[in-house]
């Protein structure tokens, strides 16, 4: 007998939490929106009443208001969402210890081991839904299947507050008729390629020539054919599994467009203060730097480079990021958002092969200086000591001071 995998998706998570916390919102069209002042003015989530007006996640608040003038837009309360996400996982943990979060509001559960005690996958799913509503006042959609991909597909098929079963023996009849893009792993770019070969449904994909897709989509092409045939064997990670930290990054959308390189430098310098701090906390060193720049036409470009000497110094990372920026960015449009990431991380205690030509003494000196700065910040607060250029207004947004540790281990 195969595995029983559940995928639980909390319906309209942000909006549902807001409506649950404030009963007066319950029967009205409600959306959670970012801060317009800080140019985060998009819809982050909406409830079903708002959905009826055609409001979509990601659209601008003014567009949403045009569609529904009575729309109530509430600011996000990330601490609450994290709290309810954690409580939901506590409920799941009453059934299994194999719980793999997929974002804040979704989880895979492998309940194979508790079928003898708790019943079939469908019965467990129904109990979970009831329990979730009773304890937290939130609804979930649950997909039940024999692998993670189909369980996820199932949870998207019926919403809200529903269970969808995709059994191993009849999955072909049940899902092969669905659009290929419904399946996890088929994004917009892949869908475009598949469409060009008239591969439109999951069934088409399952029977597609393997060599052709491998040639066009690489490893990913082979993978999605396997998925469509129900051959996903990936395990559900145990709940205490902590994914290794691969990169530490920080990005922001500025309050106003950045108009020259000096302004970009200030923003980068501000961003790397946090990156340096996090690298110290995780005891990591960066072997490279990646930057992501979005201009005011919403076009995004990314670049990355290696560092000659691995470091956790914010100043060295900032300088490398800025050099990369000046070398790579062609200034046709002003800049709307900047992200800096420290990549190719390795442990600080790991011995490092030095190169003959790079001078590491400067970097070591800088790291010592920043250790002292970090000490001062620890004792007197984050802003006790700052680069002088950051003491004035540098177009940084002011709406998010909380650091979010996502259930997936990502630090935002």
């Amino acid at each position: 007998m195969g595995r029983t995998i559940l995928h639980c998706d909390m319906n309209n998570f942000y909006a549902s939490v807001e409506c649950m916390l404030n009963m007066k919102l319950r029967d009205k069209p409600v959306a959670v929106g970012g801060d317009v002042e800080n140019r985060h003015g998009i819809i982050l989530a909406k409830n079903y009443h708002a959905k009826k007006y055609g409001i979509q996640t990601g659209e601008a608040l003014w567009q949403a208001r045009q569609k529904c003038p009575d729309l109530i837009i509430v600011p996000p309360h990330y601490e609450e969402y994290l709290k309810y996400s954690k409580l939901a996982r506590e409920i799941y943990s009453q059934y299994t210890d194999l719980i793999e979060p997929y974002g804040m509001d979704e989880c895979w559960l492998d309940v194979t081991g508790c079928r003898n005690i708790c019943g079939t996958g469908e019965e467990i799913a129904n109990r979970l839904r009831e329990q979730m509503y009773f304890e937290l006042g939130l609804t979930i959609s649950v997909g039940v299947s024999f692998n993670k991909i189909f369980a996820k597909l199932g949870s998207d098929m019926k919403k809200p507050n529903a269970t969808t079963v995709i059994p191993e023996d009849t999955f072909r009849e049940k899902i092969w008729g669905l659009p290929a893009s419904d399946m996890l792993g088929v994004g917009r770019a892949t869908e475009k390629v598949l469409n060009s070969y008239c591969i439109r449904t999951i069934g088409d994909l399952a029977q597609a020539p393997r060599e052709l897709l491998k040639r066009r989509l690489g490893k990913c092409g082979e993978m999605i054919i396997q998925y469509a045939n129900g051959l996903d064997h990936s395990p559900v990670a145990p709940m205490d599994y902590e994914p290794p930290i691969k990169s530490v990054g920080h990005g922001i959308t500025t309050k106003e467009d950045l108009e020259n390189a000096a302004e970009v430098w200030n923003v980068m310098l501000s961003l790397v203060q946090d990156i340096g701090h996090k690298l110290r906390v995780y005891k990591k060193k960066a072997g490279g730097v990646a930057i992501c720049i979005r201009n005011n036409q919403l076009e995004t470009k990314q670049w990355q480079c290696q560092l000659p000497v691995k470091t956790y110094s914010s100043a060295v990372i900032a300088k490398a990021a800025f050099d990369l920026f000046t070398r790579s960015y062609v200034w046709n449009n002003d800049i709307r958002s900047v992200t800096v990431r420290a990549i190719n991380l390795s442990s600080q205690s790991e011995p490092e092969q030095l190169t003959l030509f790079a001078d590491s003494s400067e970097v070591v000196k800088r790291e010592r200086l920043e250790d002292t700065i970090e000490n001062i910040r620890e004792r007197f607060g984050k802003n006790a000591i700052l680069p002088a250029t950051l003491c004035r207004s540098i177009k940084m947004p002011t709406d998010r001071d909380v650091e979010l540790q996502m259930p997936t281990g990502m630090v935002m």
């Binding site: 649950m20 404030n22 009773f134 304890e135 006042g137 939130l138």
Partner: protein, 94 residues
């Protein structure tokens, strides 16, 4: 465990945080004894009937729900992250 559907309410309610006196057993079990409402009136809890996690259907939020009997009335008292609240009727203030 079965989860009975909760009653529909037409009266408006509001969340009122209250002062609570607790008795904590050596094993760590907590038992609320009295509730001091926002107007200062102290209500003695005559009976504690049930304790479970549940959401507050009338005012929103969640917590450990204590089903209690006060003056022959069954009502709920919630504990959420160390704070205690009741679902009070909006018009009468309790």
């Amino acid at each position: 465990m079965s989860y009975a559907s909760t009653e529909q309410n037409t009266i408006e309610h509001r969340k009122v945080y209250v002062e609570v006196t607790l008795k904590v057993s050596p094993e760590g079990n907590v038992r609320p004894l009295t509730i001091t409402f926002e107007d200062g009136i102290v209500y003695e809890i005559d009976r504690l009937k049930q304790r479970c996690r549940a959401h507050a259907t009338k005012v929103g939020g969640t917590g450990i729900r204590y089903t209690i009997v006060v003056n022959n009335h069954e009502t709920y008292l919630f504990e959420d992250e160390g704070k205690w609240f009741v679902e009070a009727k909006a018009q009468s203030g309790g």
